[in-house]
């Protein structure tokens, strides 16, 4: 008798459990909508994932429907595969990741369509279908960025994070929780995570960290030439050299309009040769007459691209000069075998555009150079009119990418297949920088950008942290933050770089900034 009762109880529980599961999986997702009124427009959704091109391996692009209603129902479909149906009571459309992946994977090159129904005051309304296009090409799996307060002067909490963009997994690589310092300028060789470098500023762990095939080196890149360590950086494709800029940066504030402002007071370029632990330079990239910054190697390693502006007259006050500093895009040939430099040439003069060129990045296929252009200086993120431009390196054609808003756009990074570009923008609210992706097709056309998808579609409504230096990379960083910190804090772990004995200090910006208060301020 007891056994029978037990069996009955278990059976009942099973039935109830199955019922609950069915209710959640089917009942909640399938709406019985027989009658509805057509609305002659698409619904307002946030983020704006409409009429854009999306990677076939991107995480579900969850969104929030900004229309009044008590019930929401969305059908997502494409040419092939099973339609996804989602119901919601609050307008948040959370797309199941497995179904989303399946749908995207079998529909590369196809359109993905969204039909939205909203129940308001007891009536169902159907909005006009909106679509996105699924690209054929994947995006690199990881985005590495720094999260930091929308910084003005002080910033106590920051971290370098890696986010798997094919899902929602985010992980702190380094954080001030582990070591109180400033982390910046993470960079990868050839878009592979195996060769990475980054800086740690301030405190005992300060240094430049080069991570190659699992081993971590801590370098002090200061020499008799450069009192301050390397800052902006670019890996030579061989993985044996890193070009750095050495900058003195100043910050001040405006009374009207955009509050923050920054400018370089001085800057030069140096090369750091990893195997020989040597810093070198040449008069053409460390000229006393010019400020050189933002180095970028061409994918074949034969040219070093960089930005260059005239060194302002030292007798002028910064107020007189800061908005007159205009950077040209330059390049200089370099032969790694013979360690010889060619003559520098102007690739893009500011006189041609009346804009200052900054942050050049070349697509891995060598066809395009993306850069930010701004009214003056290098800090395009601090003023409206800072926009992303594309330069066709074969034809020399320069054009504005169709991704810009009337708010600042800035730092950018290509995917390893040259089809995706991630860039920083304040387009959402004018204060907080966030990463946006755009598809660059074979003709070099940039398509409508979309913001990094988040599991909670209203995430950006309350996330008051800036995404800084977004870098696309083809896989997760292979070393753990704890190992980097252990190296940073280990006694005697720092290798002091040696200065190339052949450098004639008098010919370059001699012992740069010897009497200057140095400062690194990287807030892009």
């Amino acid at each position: 008798m007891k056994k029978r009762n037990l069996i009955i109880c278990i059976s009942l529980l099973l039935i109830i459990g199955i019922g609950v599961i069915l209710l959640f999986n089917l009942g909640f997702n399938i709406e019985d909508i027989n009658q509805y009124t057509e609305i002659g427009r698409s619904p307002k959704i946030d983020p704006d994932y409409v009429n854009t091109v999306i990677p076939p391996n991107i995480a579900p692009m969850n969104f929030f429907i900004k229309e009044p209603g008590t019930r929401y129902y969305v059908q997502i479909s494409s040419a092939n595969g099973k339609e996804i149906k989602i119901s919601s009571n609050n307008g948040k459309i959370i797309i199941p990741i497995r179904k989303w992946k399946q749908l995207l994977n079998v529909n590369r090159g196809e359109a993905i369509n969204y039909v939205v129904y909203i129940k308001n005051k007891g009536e169902w309304y159907r909005y006009q279908t909106f679509s996105n296009k699924i690209a054929k090409e994947d995006i690199d799996s990881h985005l590495v960025y720094r999260l930091i307060d929308p910084m003005f002067v002080q910033s106590k909490i920051m971290g370098i994070y890696q986010r798997n963009v094919t899902n929602f997994h985010e992980e702190a690589v380094l954080h001030t929780r582990a070591m109180n310092a400033c982390y910046n300028c993470h960079s990868f060789c050839n878009k592979k995570p195996d060769n990475m470098m980054m800086h740690i500023r301030g405190g005992k762990g300060a240094g430049t960290f080069i991570i190659q095939n699992g081993s971590i080196k801590k370098i002090n890149t200061t020499t008799a030439f450069n009192k301050y360590p390397g800052a902006y950086r670019s890996w030579h494709p061989s993985g044996k050299i890193i070009a750095f800029s050495v900058n003195i940066v100043r910050q001040f504030f405006h009374a009207v309009g955009y509050t923050q402002e920054g400018y370089d007071k001085m800057s030069d370029l140096i090369l750091y040769k990893i195997d020989s632990n040597m810093v070198t330079t040449c008069p053409d990239i460390a000229s006393p007459r010019f400020m050189e910054t933002y180095p970028e190697w061409s994918p074949d390693g034969r040219y070093l691209y960089y930005c260059r502006a005239k060194q302002p007259d030292s007798s002028s006050s910064f107020e007189e000069v800061y908005d007159k500093i205009m950077y040209d895009l330059m390049r200089i040939p370099y032969d790694m075998e013979t360690d010889t430099w060619g003559k520098p040439e102007v690739v893009l003069s500011h006189k041609r555009t009346n804009l200052s060129v900054t942050q050049p990045r070349i697509s891995p296929d060598g066809k395009y150079l993306a850069c930010a252009m701004t009214r003056w200086g290098t800090f395009s993120i601090h003023r409206p009119g800072g926009d992303i431009y594309l330069l066709n390196l074969k034809t020399g054609e320069l054009y504005e990418a169709d991704v810009n808003s009337d708010r600042p756009e800035s730092y950018n990074s290509w995917s390893s297949n040259s089809r995706w570009l991630v860039f920083s923008s304040k387009m959402r609210d004018d204060v907080i920088t966030r990463p946006y992706f755009t598809y660059i097709d074979e003709n070099g056309k940039a398509h409508k950008p979309f913001i990094l998808p988040q599991e909670d579609p209203t995430f950006y409504d309350t996330f008051i942290i800036t995404y800084n230096v977004p870098e696309l990379v083809d896989g997760p960083i292979p070393v753990r933050g704890q190992e980097i910190i252990r190296t940073a804090l280990a006694e005697g772990s720092t290798q002091k770089a040696v200065l190339d004995p052949e450098i004639d200090l008098d010919a370059v910006t001699s012992a740069t900034m010897k009497d200057e208060e140095g400062g690194n301020y990287f807030h892009q």
């Binding site: 106590k156 001040f252 504030f253 009374a255 609210d429 004018d430 950006y460 996330f463 008051i464």
Partner: protein
């Protein structure tokens, strides 16, 4: 008749149950202890935090943050001790309401008392530890009387005691099972409270070693736990090794007073176990022939009622001394001034300043703000001791980083909206996304017309526990553009803002240049004018001061304010009328001239000896610019 019967019954019962006089006294003592001593102690405790410390000031000082947001919670799971901080972040919101905040601290003190009393009894002590049991609660009173003492430390410590309680009470005697349960619970506790788990480790270890005499188990407990933070920092959590070991332990405090108090609190329990261990050891060696110490033999001769009274008096003395020594009067004054300034209760700011025994820079800064808002800056500012000079008017850059939000409020008043935004952001970087900072950032951006970012700050504010009402008010303002353009406060604010067509650069280290630029940009900004004039007076720059007198008419002054008259008289006396600007119809009153003459006469009386003339000048002219000019003017100026 009834009474007699009743007494007789009680007496019979006592006799029949064999209760001695001694046990009746013990029962009476217990009654006295539980129904008189304890309630008095904890009622005092509650009143102390409600009235004297005032927990809303703890809230104001610490600005604890709590958001109903999954990411906010997830961030606390990323390091050992995070969960305790999360709980503390939530509970610290209760500080905002002093009656609840005081009750919460009192409950924690009650739990502390309970665990301590239990532990002392558990050691087998014959004395109940009746007074000693109050010591940790007293230390807690001293700790929480420090406005910077964080609740997470108390919660971490209480979790450690709770785990100890469960370990001693519930864990079976089998050594292997005991160790396994200990080990698993220590991992759980470490995740929960971080370094504070060492209290649990030490107490479990000492308990096993000294009292239970399970030596191997005791050593194993201590040794196994030492490596736990190392493993956690190396392989699991992204935290520094130091943080892995000491987070939520007293070592994290820079403030020596808190460090010592907190350290004593932590040391108390191991010491109790060690002392008890030593006594047990001696007892076992000497058998029953244990010498009683002097205090014990004295107490044994004292009558029970007197003993009770003595213990009670001793506790009251301890409580009084602890409260007296831990009270932070100066800091409370500072916080009260700041509190009234935040609430724009300017009369109370001045009232508090006048009663304060010590005035720091921020208090004078707020007092000057109060004077301006009450229309008294140009006539009464030297009634305050302006010994901070211009720094008390506009805090220097390094001090602003200590008071970023207050700086933002000031620039907001001044109409320098970008600087208000700048300092609100600094506040967010330094102190986190606190309710007041988010509110200020939302308001600043509404005023600036940056509605998209204002929406972000309002949405975030709406996720807090205490600022939702403010978030709703701000959202109403945000939604209603007509209200923004018609609200008198908004209109007044916008009238002080710089002309959008004329940008200028802000120099953080040159306050006078900034004020000049604000005023030149918007000559109707009366606050900028009065601050600039005050700046010139405080820096003894009478030439520049005199030059700016021409603005009086445009700004609608009906007469020359008192301090300006004083400065002009002095300027004329010093420069001999050479470069006196045109006063355009304004006059220096005869009264001012007479007062100045009197001032000079007093100086002459003492043959120009400022030291000797001080008392008389202070009595008659202590609230004048002349007095400031002679006695308070900072040396560097």
């Amino acid at each position: 008749m009834k009474k007699v019967n009743s007494k007789g019954l009680k007496s019979k019962l006592k006799k029949s149950s064999g209760i001695s006089k001694r046990t009746i006294n013990a029962a009476n003592y217990q009654k006295f202890y539980y129904f008189t001593v304890m309630p008095i102690f904890f009622i005092f405790f509650y009143l102390w935090f409600y009235f004297r410390v005032d927990t809303k000031l703890i809230y104001q000082y610490q600005e604890p943050i709590f958001f109903f947001n999954p990411r906010f919670f997830q961030d606390y799971l990323l390091y050992p001790g995070g969960l305790t901080e999360y709980i503390a972040a939530f509970l610290a919101q209760l500080y905002y309401f002093p009656w609840v905040g005081a009750l919460m601290i009192t409950i924690f003190a009650g739990l502390t008392f309970f665990f301590t009393r239990w532990l002392i009894k558990e050691t087998g002590a014959k004395i109940g530890g009746d007074i000693i049991s109050f010591i940790p609660a007293l230390l807690l009173l001293a700790c929480h009387s420090q406005y910077e003492f964080l609740l997470s430390f108390t919660i971490g410590y209480l979790f450690a005691l709770l785990f100890l309680f469960l370990y001693i009470y519930l864990v079976p005697e089998n050594k292997i099972i005991r160790f396994l349960i200990y080990f698993l619970s220590s991992i759980l506790l470490y995740f929960l409270v971080g370094g504070a788990f060492f209290l649990f480790v030490l107490l479990c270890g000492f308990f096993e070693l000294l009292l239970a005499r399970r030596y191997v188990l005791g050593l194993l407990i201590i040794i196994s736990s030492v490596v736990l933070p190392y493993l956690a920092a190396s392989f699991i959590f992204l935290v520094s090794l130091r943080k892995a070991y000491v987070h939520l332990l007293p070592f994290e405090y820079v403030n020596k007073k808190i460090y010592l108090l907190h350290m004593t609190l932590y040391a108390f329990y191991p010491i109790v176990l060690i002392v008890r261990g030593i006594i047990n050891f001696r007892n076992s060696k000497k058998g029953k022939a244990v010498k009683r110490n002097l205090l014990a033999s004295f107490l044994s001769r004292v009558g029970p009622r007197l003993k009770m009274a003595l213990k009670f008096i001793f506790l009251v003395i301890l409580l009084t001394i602890t409260a007296f020594l831990s009270y932070e009067k100066v800091q409370k004054d500072q916080l009260m001034v700041d509190y009234y300034a935040r609430n724009h209760d300017w009369n109370q700011v001045l009232k508090r300043i006048k009663g304060a025994p010590r005035l720091d820079l921020e208090m004078i800064f707020q007092a000057n703000r109060a004077l301006y808002h009450l229309g008294l800056l140009s006539s009464d500012m030297f009634a305050l001791p302006q010994f901070w000079g211009t720094q008390g008017l506009l805090m220097p850059q390094d001090v602003r980083f200590k008071y970023p939000l207050q700086s933002s409020y000031f620039y907001f008043d001044l109409g320098h909206i970008n600087e208000a935004e700048h300092w609100a952001h600094e506040s967010m970087s330094i102190r986190g996304e606190t309710g007041w900072t988010l509110e200020q950032l939302a308001l600043v951006n509404i005023v600036k017309g940056e509605f998209d970012i204002a929406h972000v700050f309002i949405s975030k504010l709406n996720q807090t526990l205490l600022f939702r009402r403010k978030a709703n008010l701000l959202r109403q303002l945000w939604n209603d553009s007509t209200r923004i353009s018609s609200d008198p406060g908004m209109l007044a604010m916008r009238s002080r803002m710089p002309n959008p067509e004329h940008d200028f650069i802000y120099y953080s280290d040159y306050s006078d240049i900034v004020l000049e630029r604000i005023l030149n940009n918007n000559p109707s900004n009366r606050m900028a004018f009065e601050y600039l004039m005050a700046y010139y007076l405080l820096s003894d720059n009478l030439g520049q001061f005199a030059n700016e007198m021409a603005r009086l008419k445009d700004l609608g002054y009906t007469e020359i304010p008192r301090h300006y008259q004083e400065a002009l008289v002095l300027y004329i006396a010093l420069s001999g009328n050479r470069s006196l600007p045109s006063l355009e119809g304004y006059k220096i009153s005869a009264k001012t001239i007479a007062r100045f003459k009197n001032f000079q006469d007093i100086l002459k009386k003492f043959r120009g000896n400022k030291g000797l003339a001080y008392n008389e000048l202070y009595k008659n002219h202590g609230n004048t610019y002349w007095f400031y000019s002679i006695y308070y003017k900072p040396k560097e100026q």
